[in-house]
């Protein structure tokens, strides 16, 4: 367990030392959401209707940005080998890395989303649900994305391939996440969507690190 905490701390430290990566994803999120009104037109009713979808798709793409660098530096400098040789099971260490990834990319998106939601005229209740849905959904994005990142590690054209592999798997998260906010906007309860997101998260927490570890072992062989 100590090693897991060490790995989270190290990844956070690394993210601090190379801030640009974290900030790039954040600004990407802001820019993409700001482009939609420019492309569609400033009509508030329409923007309010499509806001959940825009925010979620943008969050999804912003998560994708840094995903190919989740394991690549560790693979290149041999840290991944050392992790595989650690007395602590590799699966736990990988879970730690995924946690750190969420803390550096998912969590900032969650915190920033309400500000962007205001741009789309979402009311307080909808903003609350947006944060809640992102809080449940962004870890899912990190977990599923990690599988793709591990599978494409050291592979030709890995970055593009990664999005091809991962984006279809993001569909349920997108549907339930955006759906939750939409329900509130149209005056209904979001409980169903949120509990489904939570269920997906529970399944992914269990399976994704395991699948990621299996994929990494293949890359290390």
């Amino acid at each position: 367990m100590k090693a897991v905490i060490a790995i989270i701390r190290r990844d956070l430290l690394l993210a601090m030392r190379r801030k640009s990566e974290v900030l790039t994803a954040l600004f990407f999120f802001i820019i993409v959401t700001s482009l939609f009104p420019l492309g569609i037109g400033p009509e508030p009713a329409l923007l309010k209707k499509i806001a959940p979808g825009i925010l979620w798709v943008a969050a999804l793409l912003a998560t994708m940005l840094g995903l190919s660098r989740l394991f690549a530096p560790d693979h290149a400098d041999g840290t991944l080998e050392q992790m595989a040789l650690s007395p602590t099971p590799l699966g736990l260490l990988i879970a730690g890395k995924i946690t750190a990834h969420w803390l550096t990319t998912g969590l900032p998106l969650v915190l920033l989303a309400p500000v962007l939601g205001i741009q789309f005229d979402l009311d307080t209740e909808a903003l609350g649900i947006l944060v809640l849905a992102l809080l449940l959904g962004t870890p899912l994005l990190s977990l599923i994305g990690a599988i793709g990142a591990a599978l494409t590690l050291g592979v030709r054209g890995g970055g593009v391939l990664l999005s091809l592999l991962v984006l279809p798997l993001y569909v349920p998260t997108l549907i339930f996440g955006a759906g939750a906010v939409e329900m509130v906007v149209s005056g209904l309860s979001a409980a169903g969507h949120l509990s489904l997101l939570a269920a997906l998260l529970a399944v992914a927490v269990f399976f994704a690190p395991w699948a990621t570890t299996a994929a990494l072992r293949i890359a290390l062989e």
Binding site: K2, L13, A76, G78, Q82, L85, S86, P87
Partner: protein, 201 residues
């Protein structure tokens, strides 16, 4: 006690070696020699349990390393081509992270002592990025001084080191072997160490 029986290794479609046996008792060290591409690194990775052999088995204290898994890794220190040294972190941070990953307790004083032994005193708070190639290797080797593992597997540990560092490392290995440790290493240079076994592949 490390034994390997009838190991063979296939890379791509090519057979690198087959029917390789070796046995190392505490206090012994092995120099693996061979041309580029002969499979030295592959052999070390198989011995470390990173990649499975195409045939054959590696055993530690009589137990297959596959079943021992984490128990085996507790006794193992493997240094590969790549340093596992993060450019953005300082030597001190690198060393303490490596120790935490190994599940070993390492006080700051111990870490500093190891670093100064490798001539990195005064640079422990400088990002590794600003160090020279040789100094980066020294950061890596400082791990040897702090990690209490029985089995060392070192892939080309002498590259990019100056005369003084080579001597330091040699002393470290001799110390380790005298203390009942086992060491397996590859090197293109002849190594100034006493009573080693040699394996040519």
């Amino acid at each position: 006690m490390l034994t390997a029986t009838a190991l063979s290794c296939v890379r791509g479609e090519r057979l690198l070696f087959a029917g390789l046996d070796l046995a190392l008792k505490p206090g012994e060290w092995l120099h693996v020699q061979g041309e580029n591409g002969a499979g030295k690194t592959s052999l070390l990775r198989i011995l470390a349990g990173l990649s499975p052999p195409a045939a054959g088995e590696v055993r530690w204290q009589g137990e297959p390393i596959r079943t021992l898994a984490e128990e085996y890794r507790r006794h193992l220190l493997f240094l590969g081509h790549h340093g596992a040294v993060k450019e953005e972190l300082t030597p001190l941070e690198n060393l303490s992270f490596a120790a935490e990953l190994d599940g070993a307790a390492l006080s700051e004083a111990e870490a500093l002592a190891a670093l100064s032994r490798f001539g990195l005193r005064g640079r422990e708070d400088l990002a590794v990025r600003f160090l020279s190639a040789g100094q980066k290797r020294r950061v890596l080797l400082a791990r040897l001084a702090v990690r209490k593992a029985t089995l060392w597997i070192l892939d080309e540990p002498f590259t990019a080191l100056d005369v003084k560092a080579v001597e330091l490392l040699s002393n470290l290995i001799v110390e380790h072997v005298r203390g009942g440790g086992i060491c397996i290493l590859t090197s293109h240079q002849s190594i100034p160490l006493p009573n080693g076994k040699v394996l040519k592949i």
